[in-house]
Symmetry: C2
């Protein structure tokens, strides 16, 4: 192990004890600070956001179930303070990084996190720790979905949960790349927000005549793919509105309901349903492509891929951060800030 | 027009007046007998089956809504008694044919049907009118599904509604081509029926432990594709049981419920949902491929692709035929027999 400063034996962390979504199951506790082996980096965390994928993880609805007890948190930023004694890891020593949690062990809602060196992205000086903490999950997903739309030759796309942090990024990318977007929200103030960003086609799914309007606008702009994050009947309504041969890509399940689909859309209208998971999408990229991507994302992080921050919370206020995030996701991201002086 | 016998001005037909599934909406009435134009053949019907797709059509759930009033019935057999004066149509004059209904006009539940000459398949002498009447919908679909499994390199498949006429054909094709099948039924006597045919993996979805058994057998035999005809929660359970990357092909919706799917299967396990419609599959084949297919199907019609007949009904007993079919589909096909002497 190489280190740039003394590593304490213990740390504070948010620790999950059951995948039941109960507040009591998540406690602030003292945990040992693990030591990096070959290929690993120990990150002294400075900030970590709460994302919808974290909420799913707490309830056991995420694609990965880690052995319990475990610290949640899929992404964050900090400084690499110790590494294993290999070439790649040594390169990271002392660097500020955005980092993703390992698949089997403690995550980012802690004072330190041990992860694979390959899951650390060095941050350029222009990126703050706070912005860097939100570099991976939303920006990369938005970028990947836009990539899917463009490579698939889709002239336009539909997206649900369009006022979410990710939805807003996708709306900005849509304007930037000239791929028309049809943005679905659930409240009028969310619709206003998207219109104020320059989005042309914004529909409120709670409004009268929504289904007919969505169908009409899909045909007008030629939307042949949908990025859907709600599941349940929302998926069925979006699939219904897509033209013949349309493709629905599910990347979230905010409603926590099974996806529904009208058999007629699948059988007689050749529509398809599939999923998107960032981990899979990234795994298909070469190391070189991933490095190029990391640079592109960082360049766009202050602008197209920026996240609004609605609140900062010390680690021991994780419960309040979770409550306030679930009460209003549209307001912006909630950040856990660690190692505050 | 060319004709081999005098064509009457009127005929008896079952006529649908509303897509509501109400018995009163289907009536036996007198209709004019249409005259063939260029590219068309007038078939004097001898038999026509009731298929699940006909039940969907009566309720307005099928992919095609014809202008009402209209005679239902998607397939049947009979003799071409008049044609338009073009080369292809003249070739059919006087021939016994299997025939499919046009997309916009009267179908096969009538004494005569006018259809496109391209929708008529001349029957070889070894095929009876009754067998020929059931040549298209089920045998071609079973053949197409097996083709999809084989071309996709799937070692094994899952099928629901396995005791249906189509399900039994697929079970026989499975044994014939050495592509292992996992057959799902809803009653123990259906399971016995399939086992008596030589099927090795038969599961009853109503039995305790079904989901776990299905998952286990899918892994054992390497079933990576499912042919699903029930929709609703059945689709979700089958999708859940498939291994990572599995593909569910919906070709029917016997439950008349929306398809359901667990978001985790789509997002984290790369599973996909799509539909199958015979009309689409056939449209992708060249005329030459279709002719070859017609010969293959006829060769297998007495054996691999045979249908069991549970009852024959004159046209004026269409209602009784429908009732008895819906009461027990497993018992076998119900045939409407026309122009009986």
């Amino acid at each position: 192990m190489r280190a740039i400063e003394p590593i304490p034996d213990t740390m504070q962390a948010a620790v999950l004890h059951a995948y039941d979504g109960a507040p009591d199951s998540l406690r602030i506790e003292t945990r040992p600070v693990p030591r990096p082996q070959r290929g690993q980096a120990l990150v002294k965390m400075s900030a970590a956001p709460i994302n919808p994928s974290d909420l799913m993880f707490l309830k056991g609805l995420y694609g990965v179930l880690k052995p319990l007890p475990v610290a949640p948190g899929w992404e964050g930023a900090g400084r690499v303070v110790a590494t294993g004694d290999d070439w790649l890891s040594r390169m990271l020593l002392g660097k500020r990084v955005a980092c993703a949690a390992p698949n089997q062990r403690d995550g980012t809602w802690a004072e330190y996190m041990l992860t694979s060196s390959a899951r650390c992205i060095p941050l350029s000086d222009s990126i703050s720790d706070e912005a860097g903490a939100m570099l991976i999950v939303n920006p990369l997903t938005a970028w990947a979905l836009m990539d899917i739309a463009r490579r698939g030759g889709h002239r336009a796309f539909v997206q649900t949960a369009a006022a979410s942090a990710l939805g807003r990024m996708l709306a900005r990318l849509s304007l930037h790349f000239g791929v028309e977007g049809v943005h679905i929200v659930r409240r009028e103030e969310q619709a206003e927000l998207l219109r104020s960003m320059g989005a042309r086609h914004v529909l409120n799914s709670e409004a009268d005549g929504f289904d007919e309007q969505l169908r009409t606008v899909c045909r007008e702009v030629g939307a042949t793919i949908a990025f859907e994050a709600v599941s349940g009947m929302t998926a069925a309504r979006v699939l219904r509105a897509l033209p013949d041969g349309g493709r629905l890509v599910l990347y979230g399940a905010l409603s926590e309901s099974p996806l529904m689909a009208d058999p007629r859309d699948l059988i007689f209208q050749r529509k398809r349903v599939e999923g998107f998971w960032l981990a899979d999408w990234l795994a298909k990229r070469t190391l070189w492509q991933q490095l190029r991507l990391a640079r592109q994302i960082q360049n766009a992080l202050g602008d197209l891929l920026r996240s609004e921050i609605a609140g900062r919370y010390p680690l021991h206020e994780t419960h309040r951060a979770l409550q306030e995030y679930q009460a209003s996701m549209t307001a912006g991201k909630r950040l856990l800030v660690m190692n505050l002086k």
